[in-house]
């Protein structure tokens, strides 16, 4: 039997799980626990980078668990999009873990209670997220969601203080409700088609009548919409996230809503392609952007403000998803990766600000740029990145999405383009307000400053930095800032990669072939190709500025091996990848 690295995909879920078990077994020994947790995550990251480079060349790959063939057994599918999400999410979780370890060491107190549950729960969260990214059937997706949601309930209410319990109850009830909705949809889909396998569903759902399809489609979108915090369903997020400890909030804000978006993109492209409800999605996207950012402007607390910008920027992703063009989807994929990194970084920096200044309320902050220039840089770069100032990656992603909107050229996409630019400017306003008040103004100008901010001399203040901002916490944050900058430096190869991923997803045949085998797909290939070319705006890469986007190996072409240009260009990208990984 031939040895294939991609067959080790399930390990991305299993390693964190086993790590969690071992970490739990060693609950008496904090040092061992930490070592196990960090070790498990490092192995996962390495494995996933290997998987990414394999998928970069080889395209979509499916693993049939226990050897049961596709529609009957459980499949795990890794395609370019899933691989990218896996790598980004694992690197993020590793950095946040290091930050949490640093924080634990700095605070020198045993807040773990009778059993240390933070590290094992954290690993279970990672396992759940990986499982959701890799799930090849709807029910496994549901299980993945439940695994990381259960872990998130525990992490959110860590310590069991009053504020956390209050926030936790809302969060848990809302999440359970959305899970129930998801489960109902799975039940209905099974009743309608007799399968829960995503690839199989993709073929069978088209045979249903349009009304049933639409109902299932909307129910699924509502269930994922709650998890992804899309506008009318996002009310729970700003109430629950900010109360958790800084590392927990950071990883929640970065990852959990993005898993919802991932599920939306996956089902939208695979199960319900077409533009039946794109206009509705775009209206929702515009409202999410505008309402979210207006909410952010009303907040005085940095954590709450960031939670609202999180909601608002989910709007960009929904917009990119609703475009149904390769350029829009490519930009969306890039933007998801960028946004995971940037949102996590900002929450970590806010944690640092809170430690240094004793509060995260901008009305009470002042003079931080003078006291700690390092902190100022760590805040400034991701903040500008979030607002989408060139040349940062936020700009690249937004530019791509807006280009997609302009290419489509209808009144609704122009409205959306306008809303995107407006949201970007308002985001800038929101972060600049924090910058101007917290960092730029003098500490003496603050009305009721925290005592810790007023020091006799600058030397005193700088001395306090050493105690309050330990390098074990600053280093992981700086690492993430560097990673977000790497998104700009390697924007070219990454965009190429996203483009290939988007093309794969719109064509659908790579995914279906990987899961169901070629013979099954051959019968419907004509239909699929015709359908896709019919509605995706720019599946042909001949449009403006796409000339350098070398054509990717596509199954739309009659012979796959004939496309030498595509594979060589992927090779060039590949050489950049280790540099990218090393940078992080």
């Amino acid at each position: 039997m031939q040895f294939n690295v991609v067959d080790f995909v399930p390990l991305a879920v299993l390693i964190p799980f086993f790590g969690a078990a071992f970490a739990f077994a060693f609950y008496r020994n904090q040092a061992t626990q930490k070592a196990i947790t960090i070790g498990a995550l490092i192995i996962t990251v390495v494995l996933e980078i290997v998987l990414l480079s394999e998928v970069w060349h080889g395209g979509t790959h499916a693993v049939q668990l226990a050897g049961w063939p596709a529609p009957f057994g459980i499949s795990m599918v890794i395609d370019r999009f899933a691989a990218l999400m896996l790598v980004v999410s694992s690197i993020i979780t590793l950095a946040v873990l290091l930050y949490a370890v640093g924080q634990g060491a700095a605070e020198e107190r045993n807040d773990s209670g009778p059993v240390s549950i933070f590290y094992p729960t954290y690993l279970i969260l990672v396992a759940g997220v990986s499982n959701a990214f890799l799930a090849g059937d709807l029910f496994n997706l549901y299980v993945g969601f439940e695994i990381f949601l259960t872990a998130s309930y525990v992490l959110l209410t860590l310590g069991g203080g009053e504020a956390r319990i209050r926030a936790g109850v809302t969060y848990v009830v809302v999440s359970i409700l959305s899970s129930m909705l998801f489960l109902i949809t799975i039940g209905l889909m099974y009743a309608a088609t007799g399968t829960v396998n995503l690839a199989d569903l993709a073929l069978k759902l088209t045979e249903l009548d349009l009304g049933t399809q639409l109902m299932l489609h909307v129910m699924l979108l509502v269930a994922f919409g709650i998890k992804a915090a899309v506008f009318p369903l996002a009310f729970w997020l700003p109430d629950s996230y900010p109360t958790a400890p800084a590392p927990v909030t950071a990883v929640f804000a970065g990852l959990l809503t993005k898993v919802g978006i991932y599920a939306m993109i996956r089902t939208e492209t695979l199960l319900f392609p077409g533009e039946r409800i794109n206009t509705v999605l775009m209206v929702v996207a515009a409202l999410t952007m505008i309402v979210g950012i207006l909410g952010a402007l009303a907040q005085a607390d940095i954590k709450r403000m960031l939670s609202f910008t999180l909601i608002s920027h989910i709007g960009y992703l929904v917009f990119g998803l609703a475009l149904s063009s390769v350029i829009g989807m490519a930009a969306t994929i890039y933007y998801v990766a960028h946004h995971i990194t940037i949102q996590t970084t900002l929450f970590l920096v806010t944690g640092l600000i809170e430690r240094r200044a004793g509060t995260s309320n901008v009305d009470k902050l002042g003079g931080l740029a003078r006291i700690s220039p390092v902190l100022a840089i760590l805040f400034f770069l991701p903040a500008m990145n979030l607002a989408g100032i060139p040349p940062f990656s936020g700009f690249v992603g937004k530019l791509g999405i807006i280009q997609g909107g302009i290419a489509e050229n209808t009144w609704i996409t122009w409205t959306l383009v306008f809303a995107s630019v407006l949201t970007s400017l308002l985001t800038l306003l929101a972060v600049v307000r924090i910058w101007a008040r917290g960092f730029w103004r003098k500490a003496e100008d603050v009305e009721k400053p925290e005592r810790i901010l007023i020091q006799k001399t600058l030397a005193h203040a700088r001395a306090a930095n050493k105690r309050l901002l330990p390098s074990a916490m600053v280093a992981p944050t700086a690492l993430l800032v560097a990673m977000s900058l790497a998104f700009t430096v390697f924007a070219g190869p990454l965009m190429n990669f996203s483009r290939a991923a988007a093309q794969d997803m719109y064509e659908r045949t790579p995914y279906l072939e990987a899961v169901l085998g070629e013979e099954r797909v051959d019968g419907v290939r004509e239909e699929l190709v015709e359908f896709t070319t019919g509605y995706v705006v720019d599946l042909d890469t001949d449009d403006d500025g796409a000339a350098e986007f070398a054509p990717v190996r596509t199954s739309l072409q009659p012979e796959m091996e004939s496309d030498e240009g595509g594979s060589t260009s992927v090779d060039v990208d590949e050489q950049n990848d280790p540099a990218d990984g090393g940078d992080q």
Binding site: G161, I165, R166
Partner: protein, 176 residues
């Protein structure tokens, strides 16, 4: 597809009552609502198997249509386990909320309330503090610490206004 009418009606009733209970402000009722909804959903998944049939072990002389579809039951089992875990964790949260704050209600978010007051949108009927529940358990032994607390209801209500003082005390004691 064949549907069992009894199961369908029971499922509908469970979902309806569950949703009604979830709209309540009392957390215990919300929990009961969640239990009902999750079991209603389980019934729904059970029904997707369609008509009843032979157990799905291959035997000679039986056609594919004679067997029962076993997959929904497999999904159902997983769903039951997950719902069980959810209910357990929610119950723990509700109990903790009761131990700390002595109330069983969904409370308003403080920041929301702050924003509402700054723009003058405070509605006394809707937004006033929910009075803490009076109960015969209040004066008994605190289960978290073992300390005996003796607070008369009038005093306790005043404390509830000033950030639930006895509750936070119990909380600190519980953590140490």
């Amino acid at each position: 597809m064949t549907i069992n009418l009894t199961l369908l009606i029971v499922m509908g009733a469970m979902l309806a009552i569950g949703i009604y209970l979830m709209l309540e402000r009392s957390l215990t009722r919300v929990l009961l609502g969640i239990i009902l909804i999750s079991n209603g959903v389980n019934l729904l998944i059970l029904q997707t198997a369609g008509r009843s049939g032979e157990s799905p072990i291959v035997r000679d002389g039986l056609g594919a249509e004679d067997y029962l579809d076993p997959l929904p039951q497999a999904l159902l089992l997983t769903a039951i386990v997950i719902a069980f875990a959810m209910v357990a964790i929610l119950l723990a949260l509700i109990y903790r909320s009761w131990v700390i704050a002595r109330q069983d209600e969904v409370t308003d978010d403080e920041e929301d309330r702050r924003v509402a007051t700054t723009i003058g949108a405070h509605d006394p009927e809707e937004d006033d503090e929910v009075g803490a529940e009076t109960s015969e358990f209040i004066d008994s032994v605190d289960p978290a610490t073992g300390a005996v607390r003796a607070v008369n209801p009038a005093e306790r209500n005043r404390d509830a206004d000033s950030d639930a003082a006895p509750g936070s005390g119990a909380h600190q004691a519980g953590e140490s």
